[in-house]
Structure formats: C-alpha cells, structure tokens
C-alpha cells in the first residue's frame, strides 16, 4: 500500500534494478563468492545505473532518490549478493553523508560528483580497536600545525578502506572536550603522505566484502578538508548513521525475502515420509512466521525511510527498523536453514552463506544493544513519537 506514497518514477527505477539483479547478478552469485569480488563489467553496470549516488542530490551528480528510493533498491540488490551492498553502501551512506550534511559547498562540488558516479570509492573511519560502541573514547588525534592538521592513530574494521579514494576520518582535536566539541571530521584523500592501509581483516562473511585497518602516521591534512566546524565531528558522525541504519534494515529485508523463497521452494520439492515437507505443519508454521516478520520489518523500514525523507529526524525510528530487521533476518536464515535440514548446512544450498553474512547486521553501524540504547533513551526522555 505504501507504494502510493512513493513517486512512480522511483518505483519504475526499482523495477529496472530488479531486472538487473535477476539478469546480471543472481546468475553469478557463486562466481562472486569464488573470486571474492564482483566482475568489473557488472560493476560498470552498477555505475551506469547510478547506484553509487542514490542519496546524493542531482546537482552533485547523484540520483537524489532519498532514503526511500535507496532502501527499495538496497532491498532489490540483496537478492543478488551481499557484495553489492558492500560496494555501494559506503558511497551512498557513511562515506558521503558527512560531506553532504555538514560539508562546505566547495567540498560538495569537489568530492560528491565522483562518489555519485562511482569513479571514486569512499570509506568511513570511526571505529578503533579501543573504541567501538563507545566511539567517543577514540584515541586518534588531530593537532593543528599552521594551515594543516596532523593526524595520528589507528582505525580498524573499515569497510572498503583498501579500495577507497576518499576517507572520512573522525579524530580527537581536543582531548578534554571529546563529544562536547572535541571530535572533528576530516576528508583525507588516498595518497596523502602518512595515510596507510593496515592489515586486511579475515571474517566469517563473504570474501567480496573488504575491511581493513587504517593507519595515520603524521598524516598532514589541509585545513580546508575539515568537514563542518572544528569540534562538530561527533554530531556529524551520529547524523550520518541514521540513513545507513534504515538502509541496513532494507538490505536485511531483501535477504529475508530471498531466504523465504528458498525455504518455500525447497519445502515443496523435498519429500520425506511420502510427502513434501511443505505438508508438515511444523514447516508451514516456520514459513508463516518468516513471512509475518518480513512484512512487519518492511512496514517499519518504509515508514522510517519516508519520515526521514520528509525531514523528520528521530534516530529512534531508524534504530528500531534496523534492530528489528537485522534480528528478524537472522531468525529467518536460521529457520530456512532448518527447513533445508542437512542440506542447509552444506555450501551448495547457499543458505549457510546468508546465515553467515547476515550475522554482521546485528553488529555493524551500531550493535543491537546500542540500538536499544538509542531507542530507550528516546522513550525515557519522552521524545518518541510513533
């Protein structure tokens, strides 16, 4: 029903993306898995479709379809392979939003067109070994030296860092003040002396999703690369996360939809005790629960996205959508694996890949516990409006 609230051209565009996913992405999901990356001709199609710049306004070369459009596309892309989200999410979200929300006009003109077109990739450097959920406890420092800031420190778990050209980096510009005006956001370009890529992380998800450490050793950043005002970086970073969280929910819903289809297809063809297992009520109920929870998550996600696009700023809505959708998708993966029995445990059924990949979404861009923290704060302060 929510379709009525979404411009027709966006729905048509989402249809095009679905077609692209079906024709160009789904058939090569195993190839992507084996090679650990999406083949370049397909990446080019992602660029041609403009998928790197969905949230970036048209005046900076983006599609300008807002959180809602991006969410619907993210959902469609999940039917292909998790690598597609990993590829485009940073340019659409944490990699561009700081510049978009708080950057100067000059910075927007300089960086956003190349991020929109996918000519350049971005990454977002907030997390450190000692500062995860408590991002404000970071130790990376930025010290003013003439017309430059000198950055020192180590970030880790940074998505796309090894392939990124534009780094949004959060660093302490005033140790005493911290979140109260002591954290500043910088744009640091690849090739800046003192910016180094550290160790690549090995993780339980798909190899086509890249994370690494980022090291800053006396990295000199020109002062015009400060995003917004000095000391306002933490607020910018937190604002940046809202849009990312709603779209994470959308991706989870896409995965869950695909898993449900896999589960129902398998239940219809797998015969035990002389009938398809779909005839057993235990299996039917698992499918029914999956479908119901997917629908609930979808309604939450769309509501949160539409309200975000209408200018309403309630972080708790994005947090609720992300919390519910990521936990829901993990439950769906678990049930669909169960429906597949032993075959679900085998690589060839592909369910185990989703099971592993999805686990990330309860952690990244704020763990489930941190989402609950955001939500409960809003409840306790009597700020939450449904």
């Amino acid at each position: 029903m929510y379709k009525a609230a979404i411009p027709k051209e966006i729905l048509e565009f989402v249809d095009t993306v679905r077609k692209f996913v079906k024709k160009d992405c789904e058939p090569i999901d195993e190839l992507i898995e084996q090679q650990g990356k999406i083949p370049e001709p397909v990446v080019q199609k992602v660029r041609d479709l403009g998928l790197y710049g969905m949230t970036i306004p048209t005046e900076y070369g983006g599609l300008g379809i807002g959180a809602t459009g991006y969410c619907l596309v993210a959902k469609a892309l999940s039917w292909g392979h998790g690598a597609f989200r990993s590829l485009i999410a940073v340019n659409n979200g944490i990699g561009s939003q700081a510049i978009l929300l708080s950057g100067s006009e000059e910075q927007k003109q300089r960086f956003l067109p190349d991020l929109s077109s996918g000519k350049k990739l971005s990454c977002f450097c907030l997390t450190e070994p000692g500062a995860g959920s408590d991002a404000a406890s970071m130790t990376t420092t930025a010290v003013k030296d003439g017309k430059f800031w000198v950055v020192n420190g180590l970030k880790h778990f940074i998505t796309n860092a090894p392939i990124a050209d534009v780094f949004t980096v959060l660093a302490l510009s005033d140790k005493e003040k911290r979140t109260k005006g002591g954290i500043t956001a910088f744009i640091i370009e690849k090739g800046t002396p003192g910016l180094k890529i550290g160790q690549l992380h090995q993780h339980m998800g798909s190899k086509a999703m890249v994370q690494s450490e980022v090291i800053f050793e006396d990295c000199r950043v020109p002062e015009e690369n400060v995003i917004g005002k000095v000391g306002e970086g933490f607020r910018t970073a937190m604002k940046t996360l809202d849009i990312g969280r709603v779209t994470l929910a959308a991706s989870c819903i896409g995965y869950a939809e695909k898993l449900l289809k896999m589960g129902s297809d398998y239940a219809k063809i797998r015969v035990q005790f002389g009938k398809p297992i779909a005839d057993f009520q235990a299996i039917q109920w698992m499918l029914a629960d999956c479908a119901t929870e997917i629908y609930a998550a979808d309604c939450m996600m769309i509501d949160a996205a539409l309200r975000y696009d209408s200018g309403e700023r309630q972080s708790a809505l994005a947090s609720m959508a992300k919390l519910y959708a990521s936990e829901m998708a993990c439950k769906v993966a678990d049930r669909v694996l169960q429906i597949h029995g032993g075959m679900g445990y085998m690589v060839e059924a592909k369910v185990e890949r989703y099971y592993r990949d999805l686990r990330l979404y309860r952690i990244v861009e704020g763990t489930s516990e941190i989402q609950r923290l955001v939500i409960s704060r809003s409840v306790l302060k009597d700020e939450l409006t449904f």
């Binding site: 051209e9 095009t16 077609k19 041609d48 403009g50």
Partner: protein, 262 residues
C-alpha cells in the same frame, strides 16, 4: 537515419499463465507485462544507430492502454518518441491485421530502417515483420545477429542452422533482431524521468486509412478458436526392490523403447 521499432508488450517470461474461463484468452489480472525480450534488442539497436549517426528513433505499438507502460520503457532507454496504435476496432487483430496497422504508421513516418524482434515471446508467430515488408514492398532480413549500415545499404549477419549467413540489403528495409545482436541497456533514472515528457502520439483507425473490416476480429484471416493448457506431466516411474544392475537395465530399456530418447 530514421529508425522505427515495432514493439509488442507480452506477459513476463516468469508469469504463470492461466487460461480464461471462456477458453478464448488468458487471465490478465496479476500478470506482469513487459516489452517482448527480442524487441529489447531492436530498441537497443535503434538507439545505437542514432548514437552513431544522429537521426531519430520512434517506437510503435499496437495495443490497449496498458502497452503504454512498455512504450515508456523504450523511451526511458532512449527512443525519442512513440506512436500508440489504439482503437476498439483493432481488438482481435491477427498478425496480418496488426501488420496493416503498423504499415499505415510506417508509410507516414518514412523511416530508413524498421526493426522488430525476431518473434514475440507470447504467441511465437514471427509473422508481422514479414507481412509488413510485403505490404510496404520492402526487403526483409530475418534474425539479425550483427548489423552494419553502409550508406544506403545494410550488411547483416543472420543466424542460420549451424552458423551465420551474411547478407546485404538496400534501405529502407525491415529487419528482425535476434539474441546476440547487442546487450540492451537498462533504463536509467534520468532516462525514466525524461521519458515522462516524451511524446506518445495516438493512432486510431481514422488515421490508418484502413476500413473497419481490414483490422480487428473483422479483418483477421486466422481466427483463434481457443487455448489449451499444457497437459500435466505424466508421473515418473520408480524402480524399487531390485538389484541396481537390473534397475539400470530396466531404465535403459524403457528410455529406448518407451521414451525413445536413446
């Protein structure tokens, strides 16, 4: 160079088709309609010709109001404008009647090249382009897998059994496009936005110069009597309680004698 594409809207390849209660058509509710996939090659080729040589591209479709959506897809991919042949009198047209309607547009538009899909994926008749060439008195090249335009001629590679045939034809001509000719682009969002403003002209019986008896059910030389669903697949045979070697012998025997596949 002016290129005109004849496009048909068909049910999605994945739509599950149910025959209507009267047996004369299909149930149209809940069906997703798409541009016939072979026609996508024609649309793409037209756009590429224009990109290389400048000129104009036009898409023409015969059908009810719902076909406009697929015409917009062609416009979103990059076709310049559309002609929508729509009139209650056109309903029930067979391939020949459809070709007459299309030819009436082509005579007015005067394109250098008419591109069609090799066949529409719903009825699989592959007839309209041939009728069209006949009515216009133009050459026709069927199943083009490669196309090169040279001045007033076109050199085409045609898919034939076991290989390809290279032919040359004068222009204007009618060509049907096959898989492999190109890779159709996706409609981009700016393309979709632009398509909303592009012209789609309506073309009714009065414009065609045809009589009511030339088109629609009245003009159809081939009448569809009804549709039948595919028969249910016969149940498989299960071989049990036998030695494996004997089972294999049985299976081979039946494959040879009953199924006649080996």
């Amino acid at each position: 160079m002016k290129v005109l594409v004849c496009m048909k809207q068909t049910p999605d390849t994945e739509a599950s088709i149910k025959i209507a209660a009267d047996g004369k058509g299909i149930e149209e509710q809940n069906i997703k309609w798409i541009m016939s996939p072979y026609d996508e090659y024609a649309v793409e080729e037209a756009i590429r010709i224009k990109e290389k040589q400048t000129g104009e591209t036009v898409v023409v479709t015969v059908g009810t109001d719902r076909v406009v959506e697929s015409m917009r897809t062609a416009l979103a991919m990059g076709i310049d404008r559309g002609v929508h042949c729509v009139d209650p009198a056109f309903l029930g047209s067979d391939a020949l009647a459809t070709a007459k309607i299309l030819a009436s547009v082509i005579k007015t538009e005067n394109p250098d090249v008419v591109l069609c899909g090799r066949q529409a994926i719903d009825l699989d008749q592959a007839q309209a382009p041939a009728y069209l060439a006949e009515i216009l008195g133009w050459p026709q090249v069927y199943s083009v897998a490669k196309l090169e335009l040279k001045g007033n001629a076109a050199v085409c590679n045609r898919r034939i059994e076991g290989g390809e045939e290279i032919v040359e034809t004068s222009l204007p001509c009618v060509m049907t496009c096959d898989k492999g000719l190109n890779e159709p682009r996706y409609a981009s969002l700016p393309g979709i936005m632009k398509a909303k403003k592009k012209e789609i002209k309506k073309w009714a019986l009065a414009q065609t110069g045809l009589a009511e008896t030339d088109v629609g059910t009245a003009g159809a030389k081939v009448k569809t009597l009804g549709y039948l669903p595919l028969p249910d697949r016969p149940p498989g045979k299960v071989f049990k309680e036998m030695e494996t070697a004997d089972m294999v012998k049985q299976v081979v025997k039946l494959l040879r004698e009953e199924a006649k596949v080996i």
